[in-house]
Assembly symmetry: C2
Amino acid sequence: MDQQMEQYANLIVREGVNVQPGQTMVVNAPVQCAAFAQALCRQAYQAGAAEAVVFWSDEVVNKIKLQYASDDVIGDVPQWFVDRATHYVQKGACFVSISANDPELLKDVDPAKMALMSKVTRQALQEYRKYLMTNQGCWCVTAMATAPWAKKVFPGLGEQQAVDKLWQAILQASRADGDDPVGDWSRHVQSMKTRVDKLNAHHFDALHMTGANGTDLRIGLADDHIWCGGREESAKGILFSANIPSEEVFTAPHARRVDGKVVSTMPLIYNGVMIDGFSFTFKDGEVVDFAAREGYDTLKLLLDTDEGSLRIGEVALVPYDSPIRQTGILFYNTLFDENASCHLALGDGYATCIGGEDRTDAALEQKGLNRSLSHVDFMVGAADTRITGIKGDVEIPVFEQGNWVI
Amino acid sequence: MDQQMEQYANLIVREGVNVQPGQTMVVNAPVQCAAFAQALCRQAYQAGAAEAVVFWSDEVVNKIKLQYASDDVIGDVPQWFVDRATHYVQKGACFVSISANDPELLKDVDPAKMALMSKVTRQALQEYRKYLMTNQGCWCVTAMATAPWAKKVFPGLGEQQAVDKLWQAILQASRADGDDPVGDWSRHVQSMKTRVDKLNAHHFDALHMTGANGTDLRIGLADDHIWCGGREESAKGILFSANIPSEEVFTAPHARRVDGKVVSTMPLIYNGVMIDGFSFTFKDGEVVDFAAREGYDTLKLLLDTDEGSLRIGEVALVPYDSPIRQTGILFYNTLFDENASCHLALGDGYATCIGGEDRTDAALEQKGLNRSLSHVDFMVGAADTRITGIKGDVEIPVFEQGNWVI
């Protein structure tokens, strides 16, 4: 396992953030992921990094704060916390984030307190978030198996067995369980580029998504939208993979041109609370009605974040035969579950999904890019998902029976 | 164990830093000590703290940095790191530090790189250090059993057994293994106060320490020195215990009036390197000669930190029948080992060990207080240690055969 973890860390360093000689790498790591954070640091230096820094966090300490602290304390983000992120942004650092949340940790915590903490943190880190969302620097979200997460995914197994099995699933999903993870990943992202190039050649105005569960949604695409997937390119021309694993091909919808109904096909964990069996009705891009069998209040708080959290900022296509979906595992973690299914995201869109040199915020919004403090993916793909691409009067099949046909 | 850890955390919060209602508590915690840090946060809020914050660190990530990074990178402390400490100092926070180092982790690391990291960190945190060293705020150093440390202390045991045994030793040494840790600790520090009061009544000019191992040292005491031990009092009048466990009664020697030879009686771990079988010869307060059977180069680097690291800043009396010495365990950790033996510290002295209202740095140095970026304790007490207190021509026995006789 130690050897496999080092290999996985090497994949993240080389293909994930593509550390450059003399660069600084920052790792956002839960304290429970120390072993993997250490491996990432070792691999970064071996790849030529000048420095590897870890921003530690602990969701349990955060939970205790949410349980006991006043809104004044929860709502106050100290300046050093902002300056720390800015310091490394100004150095041109690359950023790895290890995702390993206990899916059920926060289920009994007041959703209003969680929403407050989440909102003030996002606001405080706006500069840092912009640096990442606009690919000024390279970044990668990855994962590590921890005991509370593994026990949720495999409730029937003992703790060590569950952790081992989750690690294997993470490595398999990341194509990092063979002898040459860097080579395997490289081939995978090349093949995604082929799909991306085809979609970009079509210049669709909109997509039309339907399914037997009641989904019937017309998703207008942003003007000059660009399909992305697999590797991205930073402002400095460095190729990187922002998510490992990743199976999605995605672009920016038009924030004011989404109409119809979409029904979720997998549960969503938001701020540690499960939202399940939910649907949204859109008119002119905005959610005008919604329902949820479970987690309604949390979903309502998410939609109330700001004006942009009522609109979608991302549409992502993932085939039903994706290897992650084929594992049959529900990971309770967006990094994995979003790569098992077509999905949309409420909230902020990626500026990199809009073409053209004119990249002021106003120009991006003019082209249809959504703006929000939040960005939350939710799954809408199923075995019978049908998607067509619309260009003027022409409709071209993109997905049939849940899989690519373009 | 969970229940005992919560009780121990409660002792640290109530008697260690004595958290006040509405105060902020900061915990300096290795990532390996997350469970104890979480317990401290819970107990702090339950004691009325407004906020509990954790500064996480990982000695393994530090080691990797020492192994790979350049001196420029190691020597550069970012401003946010300084500002973070200052932020909580300005809030009047109390600070808990969990000590749990792997005693042998850094043994193969270049001592010059360690000395550089240690020096720039201390320099950067001078304001924070002054806040603690002058008791502007309450602080407490405590410990948690971790696997690498426990395996060094009990090399013959399996990992879990070793950790359990080290935890029991920590709790026993801290008088926290009974039903009423807060009451037991309170009685202990009361009894130390009796010794302190007797020594303060004598107003000794100097101590004379001798032993069969070759120690023959005259330790001049600082003008207006005050003996301390057990509870201390912060500038705001809050009583706290700066070390848990603690068995020592200590004061400030005169930085320019120490003469003779002192021979160590226990190994010293400095920057992860063991220094053993060492001795110093002092003249007019300064180390003019030294030797070490093991770790000579590291000892030399320690003495080279600055001018003040060649002089002593603390003399502490601990009886040979101390319960920690009686466990017979060598903890390889100063917090414990210093409470098993009389000891001295090279480097910075405690301003709180000097009386009088006039507390400018110049005035403190005039009275004999030593000043340095470092403060490193080393053990000199043995079963036959004899100490007399000198006042003019009079010599009064303080220790005979290693124990109190005053």
